[in-house]
């Protein structure tokens, strides 16, 4: 099967086709052409109108209409304004933005300049994770080359428009991807979010109007101006235009970046482009939206992917992580995994997120250890609703989604954990039992000697037996046994 059939490279148009450290190659593929057109021929209001007409929505997670955002920033008068590119990419298991920055940095620089012209900003900042050294290096090179060619700096192309870009580094805090936290971090502070409004478009960096856009959002901008808003808005669905890049990972045969028109179904992405599930296992779930998203099932496979459909299905687009899971994955453990992430990344400013998520995590842990009961399932749901409604920022407001979506879509699995004390996927150790297979056991006594609670009995050279009531499931015996006689079930 041709992997390329269903894909459309728009954001990734230049990645792999140009030497990202050579501006001439980018220019040969039309880099800065759109910027030239906008700043020499168009009035800012005209250009903003084109972005609005294209229907482009933010790729950083929220899906806010980009043209509208620019218009707000444009209308807020101030002596200084800023354009910020959000390259913090914190969703674990996603690397779309990194690929764009490493493969085609000029598209982002060009788009920032167009944005600056539209909203009346003179300075741009790229907030990038320190964990992306290659992307940082390529951006630095690209910025220097653009300056040299007079595409950044004072009086660009003799138009009187001046704009330059600086880099700011993140330091490993997921919450700094949230725009208000990001701005505080750029100011040298702890990256804690603040209540919106005021939105950055009113009061952002240094209290000035600031437009924050995601890398992938920006990478769409030059194409919109070169091919036209009309062309762009023909791609995609009714309310989500253009393409979306996904980082396909997990239990699929072909992992990696995938760019498809909005409206492509999950089935096409996972089974046609992704080549189906590894080792001929059965598909179980697909997680989108990272720690803010949810797990979708078989019945959602034919849903056309767009912002609104994913939310309706109980997940969200997020930044584009797409993790495929098979029958060996325990959905309660997956929910726990995401909560573990949230607990660690919560900035701690507001109580629902700081304390509530910790409690959610503990409940899930409890259930995975076989100590949960039915009341815990109600507690999970209630607590999730409260956190969603009361947390200060987007992190807390979405953190219960992995729990809610697995409760909705995999309720049977939760039931199996709390009622039957079984983990159907065989992942939760606390719910499993250690057994000695009589035929394999030679009665060497190695297991009995190592067991810390003396749960193993048996005569020398006779098959041994584990007393389930005493066993604490430490696994020591299994490791010691040289005859593969001990298994977990």
């Amino acid at each position: 099967m041709d992997k390329k059939i269903k894909q459309l490279r728009l954001v990734l148009r230049n990645c792999g086709f140009i030497d990202p450290e050579n501006i001439d190659e980018a220019i040969a593929r039309d880099a800065y052409l759109s910027m030239g057109k906008v700043i020499t021929e168009m009035h800012p209001a005209e250009a903003i109108k084109i972005v609005k007409e294209s229907g482009l929505r933010g790729r950083g997670g929220g899906g806010f209409p980009t043209g509208l955002k620019w218009e707000f920033a444009c209308n807020n008068k101030a002596d200084r304004k800023y354009v910020v590119c959000n390259a913090d990419e914190g969703d674990p298991g996603a690397f779309m933005d990194r690929s764009v920055l490493e493969g085609d940095p000029h598209s982002v620089i060009e788009a920032m300049a167009i944005c600056a012209y539209c909203i009346g900003a003179g300075e741009g900042l790229i907030y990038i994770r320190a964990e992306y050294p290659l992307a940082i290096k390529r951006l630095k090179t690209a910025i220097a080359q653009a300056r040299e060619y007079g595409l950044l700096g004072k009086n660009i192309l003799g138009t009187g428009f001046s704009f330059d870009i600086e880099l700011r580094y993140g330091a490993g805090a997921f919450v700094c991807g949230e725009e208000t936290a990001l701005i505080h971090s750029m100011e040298g502070l702890r990256g804690e979010p603040t209540v919106k409004p005021p939105f950055p478009a009113e009061s952002g960096y240094h209290g000035k109007p600031t437009n924050v856009n995601n890398v992938e959002t920006l990478a769409c901008i030059p194409v919109i101006f070169s091919k036209g808003a009309d062309w762009f808005s023909k791609i995609g669905t009714e309310r989500s235009k253009g393409t979306k890049v996904f980082a396909l990972a997990g239990k699929v045969n072909n992992v990696g970046l995938v760019e498809v028109p909005m409206g492509t179904s999950l089935r096409e992405v996972i089974f046609e482009i992704g080549g189906g599930i590894n080792n001929d296992r059965k598909f179980k779930a697909v997680q989108t939206g990272g720690p803010s998203g949810g797990c979708l099932t078989e019945e959602h496979l034919d849903t056309p992917i767009d912002f609104d459909n994913l939310i309706e299905a109980g997940s969200m687009m997020g930044s584009g992580g797409m993790i495929v899971m098979d029958e060996d994955d325990c959905m309660v453990s997956v929910a726990k995994f995401y909560l573990d992430f949230t607990v660690e990344e919560s900035c701690g400013k507001c109580a629902p997120c700081r304390i509530g998520n910790k409690r959610l995590y503990e409940l899930l842990d409890h259930i995975c250890k076989g100590k949960g009961d039915m009341a815990d399932l109600d507690r999970l749901r209630n607590m999730s609703e409260v956190i969603k409604d009361t947390a200060l920022c987007g992190l807390g407001q979405t953190s219960p989604n992995p729990v809610l979506s697995t409760l909705d879509n995999f309720y049977d699995e939760y039931l199996a954990h709390v009622m039957d004390k079984k983990c159907p996927a065989g992942q939760c150790r606390g719910l499993m039992e250690f057994f000695i297979i009589e035929e394999n056991c030679v009665g060497c006594t190695a297991c009995a000697r190592v067991c810390p609670v003396n749960a193993i009995a048996g005569e020398r050279k006779e098959p041994h037996k584990i007393n389930k009531g005493i066993c604490i499931k430490c696994g020591a015996c299994m490791e010691k046994c040289k005859f593969d006689a001990i298994i977990i079930q």
Binding site: P92, F95, Y169, A249, G250, G256
Partner: protein, 160 residues
């Protein structure tokens, strides 16, 4: 703060001041200053923070607040061979947890600690962008892909 007391040499203090000055001793550049200092010293002990505090005229408590907020900054020295296990989602579903357990057992340390002989330290990170190779382990700058718990001993052996 950290329990280990260290004594900064004169040239260390000068180096920190130099870094701070290169950012115009501007308090807003605190995170950049911390990045540069960590690059130089490998970590950010209290003593280094004190010098930064003086140079930027920022209270030490605030610097401590920033250092501890961001996971990239550390107040304990890393081992000669820092081992990082990716615990991003792609790696997690492909069994990173078991690999991490194996490293903990082999090195007899927890995440965030350094072995007594200073040779290895253990940390977990979130997605290094090599999800196709999951589960991924990094030792220093070297990346190991598709690591199984059984590979752990061999990986460590390369550094002994």
């Amino acid at each position: 703060m950290s329990s280990i007391k260290i004594e900064l040499r004169k040239q260390d203090i000068e180096k920190i001041r130099e870094i701070a000055a290169s950012f115009g001793n501007d308090e807003q550049e605190l995170i950049n200053v911390l990045h540069k200092c960590q690059e130089h010293f490998g970590y950010l002990p209290a003593e280094v923070q004190e010098v930064i505090s003086e140079a930027l005229q920022v209270p030490l408590a605030k610097i401590y607040g920033v250092v501890t907020f961001y996971s990239f900054f550390t107040m304990t020295p890393k081992g000669q061979n820092p081992v990082s296990i990716c615990m991003g989602t792609a790696c997690y579903v492909r069994g990173a947890e078991k690999v991490l357990e194996e490293f903990k057992k082999e090195l007899e340390i927890e995440v965030g600690q350094t072995t007594d002989d200073g040779r290895f330290s253990l940390s977990s990170l979130r997605c290094v962008g090599a999800c196709g190779l999951a589960p991924v382990v990094m030792v220093g700058d070297k990346t190991y892909g598709r690591v199984a718990p059984d590979d752990v001993k061999d990986i460590l052996k390369e550094y002994s």
